[in-house]
Symmetry: C2
Subunit: 340 residues, 2 copies
């Protein structure tokens, strides 16, 4: 119920963007063309995006891209929603371990579970990748795909971000919601290509971003088809299937989409290969980094951050002239709930 | 060039179906509603399909399915195009081995390659799955995704089916082309879910079936992102990534689409789990087997066939009341080139 309400609130935000877009779509019927990106300050970043879309959609233009080839890929963590002080999916994993602890008395004596149950995040993170993998497997596997989807939906209705006190799905970027809607209104198919779990994202991306499950690419664990009481289920196994990060992103894009993106948006070194892959296409293309520069309204981090590090990618963006969006300077608001 | 010509011919076939559909879309503007499935004989199969689509698309109907959830999945071999006397992709593999033989003098003495080079198909097939896997890896891996796509396209412009003497992409089923267009005109997203190679199908499914690469699910080998002379490529590795057959089909559907189909079409036991998975959905659903009953115009085979065996699936279809399409009785023509 609460989830429904929040999703309705989000829909209203999206509808607002869509109404704004309505006029630019029906150009001839409108006296004044409404701004499709009202939360972006007028400036070089906004202009670069508007110019690119205008060029590739103009019939007869040398840069024209047929609608079927207008593929735009978006990283999720740090590109469409926040990712500090740690990936939101990790908060889910920790909450889930606590919930499952009653069925696992041995976790009280076993790391990294013991540290999770004692809220000792420092020890959890000190365990490195192996510890995190153990937590993800314990919290994400062993159920069916339908059960897992339900668990994610329920968690989103109750969990609150430690800094903002808001549900995690409130912490999406309003300027990016507008950008997604603007691209779709111009014939682009918008995809998520994220290192996050594909089945962690799919239960909510359609309502929050307007991106349907079939356009979500992400990391995954293996699943197995089984008959249970005459009913087929897909059981989630504690075994990595695919890691959709770094050099995995072009692999995931090829596997799921089978076309090279025309535009790609990321915020970290984990997105560098996706941007390189996009840049190597034959036609016109747009490579964009979202740079976290706003310590006051969001977080400021790049080269030294453990989460969402942007170092090599920033150098390459500067070398190659890719667009680097400055969140502090380019965005009027960060989150939808900050809109007047 | 020749490829272009053939694809244009195909487009014309599809356009014909689309023109037929035009009127049913603009119902109020048409004096007479044109038949959206003109190559299907009037009868229970055609009626079952038309009734199903009519029910799920009628606003206010208890069976109404929102457009976003209208997912239709199609097996390819034996469901959208022929698969006898063996899978067309296997003809491609054999031709490719012959082409690559000059670079592999050792193949003259090594099975199963020796048998391929001597056109000794019996020995090739006697080698079983292991031999076939070796041939597929030798013919499908070791190049980049772009090179492989180009190789498939070139092969399709020259290769001819041993029985009909036609290019393989001529041997698609006209009634199924009409069905694909009809479903899309009614808001369905049409997907291929095939045991065949995903990268073998993607170069031509959009032009032949109107199914874009991002809606093709299939078997795959692993790929690796690499920089070659400053240009990123995806290299195809001789290692199985995923087999999209039998119990793999629901896994592939979940992985790529993330939604359960509303309608699923297959022709063999390899499609049974896809149909079971579809049937287990909450809403209305349609499960269809295409039954190869036409020895004269195509091939007649089911329970005893080595290729496209339909045995267990036929029993279950009869038990559960799934639709079994009789190619001989239900279809006026098989291939587009047979149309008057």
């Amino acid at each position: 119920m609460r989830m429904e309400r929040r999703f309705n609130a989000r829909t209203t935000v999206m509808q607002r963007s869509l109404i704004a877009l309505g006029c630019s779509l029906l150009v001839s019927g409108c006296a004044v063309t409404r701004d499709p990106l009202p939360s972006w300050h007028d400036g070089p970043s906004k202009k670069a995006i508007l110019d690119f879309v205008s060029h590739v959609t103009k019939p007869g233009s040398i840069d024209f891209v047929p609608p079927a080839e207008r593929i735009a890929t978006f990283d999720n963590d740090g590109t469409l929603w926040s990712e500090q002080p740690m990936y939101f999916q990790l908060f889910f994993a920790l909450d889930r371990v606590k919930e499952l602890a009653a069925q696992h008395p041995e976790w009280r004596r076993k790391q990294p579970f013991k540290a999770v149950l004692e809220d000792d995040l420092k020890t959890v993170l000190a365990g490195g990748e192996h510890a995190l993998l153990e937590l993800v497997m314990a919290s994400h596997a062993g159920n069916t795909t339908e059960e897992f989807s339900q668990t994610v939906k329920e968690w989103l209705t109750t969990a609150k971000h430690p800094k903002t006190g808001r549900p995690y799905t409130d912490m999406v970027y309003q300027p990016m919601l507008e950008l997604l809607a603007y691209l779709r209104a111009n014939g682009f198919k918008t995809f998520i290509v994220s290192g996050g779990g594909i089945e962690f994202m799919r239960p909510w991306t359609e309502q929050v971003y307007g991106i349907p499950p079939e356009q979500v690419v992400g990391s995954s664990i293996k699943t197995k088809f089984e008959m249970r009481g005459g009913k087929p289920v897909l059981v989630r196994l504690p075994e990595i299937n695919f890691i959709d990060d770094k050099a995995g992103k072009p692999v995931g894009i090829n596997q799921h989409i089978g076309r090279r993106p025309t535009a790609a948006f990321g915020n970290s070194d984990g997105d560098l290969q996706m941007l390189q892959w996009t840049a190597a296409g034959d036609g016109p293309n747009l490579m964009v980094y979202i740079h976290h520069t706003d310590a006051e309204r969001e977080w400021a981090y790049d080269r030294e951050s453990h989460i969402g590090r942007l170092d090599e990618g920033l150098d390459e963006a500067n070398d190659k002239g890719w667009l680097v969006v400055d969140m502090k300077k380019d965005w009027k608001v960060i989150y939808p709930f900050q809109m007047k």
